[in-house]
Amino acid sequence: MSKVQSRHFRAEKFDFWSFFFSGLTGLATLFILGILATILLNIIVNGWSAISWHFVSTIPKKDFFDANTTGVLPMIVGTSFRVIVMTIFVIPVGVITAIYLTEYAPNTSIITRIIRAAVNNLAGVPSIVFGLFGLGFFINFAGKNLDLLLHNANAVWGQPALIWASLTLAVMTLPVVIVATEESLKAIPPGLREASLALGATKLETILRIVLPQALPGIMTGGILAVSRAAGEVAPILFTGVAYYMASLPAHLSDQFMDLGYHVFVLSTQSPNIEQTRPILYATVLVLLLLTFALNFVAILIRARVRKKLRALG
């Protein structure tokens, strides 16, 4: 602390440089918010007029660049399907891992530290690498071997499909669920667990009957955050299941699907006439944003309620 004491501060009422630099950081904050507002406003203003019930409920039959007849129903369905299937896989694994880390794991053991390091690393793997992994592992390895076993080597699973895209996304969002669940488990007062144990419940019973119900909102938050992250991701599904165009909705786990995010990419780069497709492009972006933001917003609300409740408990 000697360093601090040796500094000399000018104790004037008004310090120009302090004012100047505080202003700069304030401007930086304002600038970031400005970017956010510009992006959102630009999309809302341009997209709102092009969005209609017809647009969100139509399957494009001929040419999805044609503003009058196109719709985004198959993309909405495809994106929803892939995140729902993803949730089925990622939530149990994520929650169980978080339970292990908070309830069972010895804090100092090597294995716990390795698990934590792996979770952190998984969170930082580039999304395109997940795509390669999905292609190399799920499709070329798991899928092909499944076909050998079940379908006499006829390709049913050894090709891009909804299930592989969902599993790839499940691996990608695993850290999101683990971290959120862990946070909510840690927030449960140890007294609750001790009381349960003291009354003769086993550890497993305590976790299932006392800890998990308490942690439910946190788990939901984690799930929603994972869904909102996954809903907007395009890179991991490029080689694992997304289709440029399909005339019908996906009906099976082995089908390919159309996707909102990928459709935004296709509309903005592949259109034969940029000016004509602009309105539907904006409308598609707005639908995607509404979907991810609505989910984010719900997550924030639940989290706020949980925190309030915890504060009241504490």
């Binding site: 001929k62 079940l150 289709a243 005339a247």
Partner: protein, 279 residues
């Protein structure tokens, strides 16, 4: 968990091909045309169901080889490695059908005074050997080149047939699609680009001379169809010969008939010349 198992089992059974069900997969260049054909054909034959999806010619060949698709759309010929993969998978070469023509034009800005170029000059411009418009009889201004993503079939075709396999100039700017090229050329009066003949969209389409001595040919519909305009390619459908029977064969035959070829122009491509059609 039980539910998932049931769904898995159900889909495993449903995935086996039903009679009267045709799947088409491959080139994104062809996907809209393929869908149009499928639509009309399904209207005429309500008992047939045709599923069309894109992804790229490479994806189409991979699917053909793994027998997950009946037909593979391709904007280029199959590569030897792809034919070899098919041989390994089903002990036969895929059968190739030409299904349409695509003419490629060279776009310049409407203000550019130039009207025609020879094939050799176009090649030299895109490889960067010719850097100024005055070298080909235009204004004294540097040339800006707009090219496509190297994964596009158009890029590959242009490189092989116009650049004669040489590399594009390092200064060539990569655009994500034909529309982006047209837009860039419209904004840049020194720009030059290439793409589907039907997608010129207000830019100037140059006439092309095959050699110095031959006449300059405009990229009009008649000239592309007759083959006098020198930059064009076939679009293909590939099929596993073992599957080329019944519904699939009937559909392929219809695509290449006068009736099927009527719809090609709507999408911006050109119908096959009479001698390549199926009737």
């Amino acid at each position: 968990m039980k539910k998932i198992a049931t769904i898995l089992a159900a889909t495993a059974f449903a995935a086996s091909t039903l009679a009267g069900n045709i799947t088409v997969k491959g080139s994104d260049t062809l996907v809209i045309l393929a869908q149009k054909w499928a639509e009309v054909y399904m209207g005429q034959h309500p008992d047939v169901k045709i599923q069309v999806s894109g992804g790229g010619s490479g994806i189409g060949f991979a699917a053909l080889q793994s027998q997950t698709t009946d037909l593979c759309d391709a904007s280029r010929k199959a590569k030897p490695a792809e034919i070899a993969n098919c041989l390994k998978a089903f002990a036969a070469r895929p059968t190739e059908y030409k299904v349409a023509l695509d003419g490629l034009s060279v776009y310049v800005n409407p203000e550019n005074s130039l009207k025609e170029l020879t094939m050799a000059q176009v090649g030299d411009i895109f490889t960067g050997k010719i850097k100024n418009w005055k070298e080909v009889g235009g204004p004294d201004a540097p040339i800006t080149i707009y090219s496509r993503e190297n994964s596009s079939g158009t890029y590959e075709f242009f490189k092989e047939h116009v650049l004669k396999g040489k590399d594009f100039a390092a200064s060539a700017q990569t655009m994500p699609g034909t529309a982006a090229i047209v837009q860039a050329v419209l904004k840049d009066k020194n720009g030059i680009g290439y793409g589907g003949a039907a997608y010129g969209g207000g830019s100037k389409l140059l006439s092309i001379k095959k050699t110095d001595a031959s006449p300059a040919i405009e990229p009009t519909e008649a000239n592309v169809e007759s083959g006098t305009y020198p930059i064009w390619r076939h679009l293909y459908v590939y099929v596993n010969p073992a599957l080329d029977k019944g519904e699939v064969a009937a559909y392929l035959n219809w695509i290449r008939s006068d009736d099927g070829q009527k719809y090609v122009k709507d999408i911006g491509y050109y119908p096959l010349p009479k001698n390549l059609r199926s009737n």
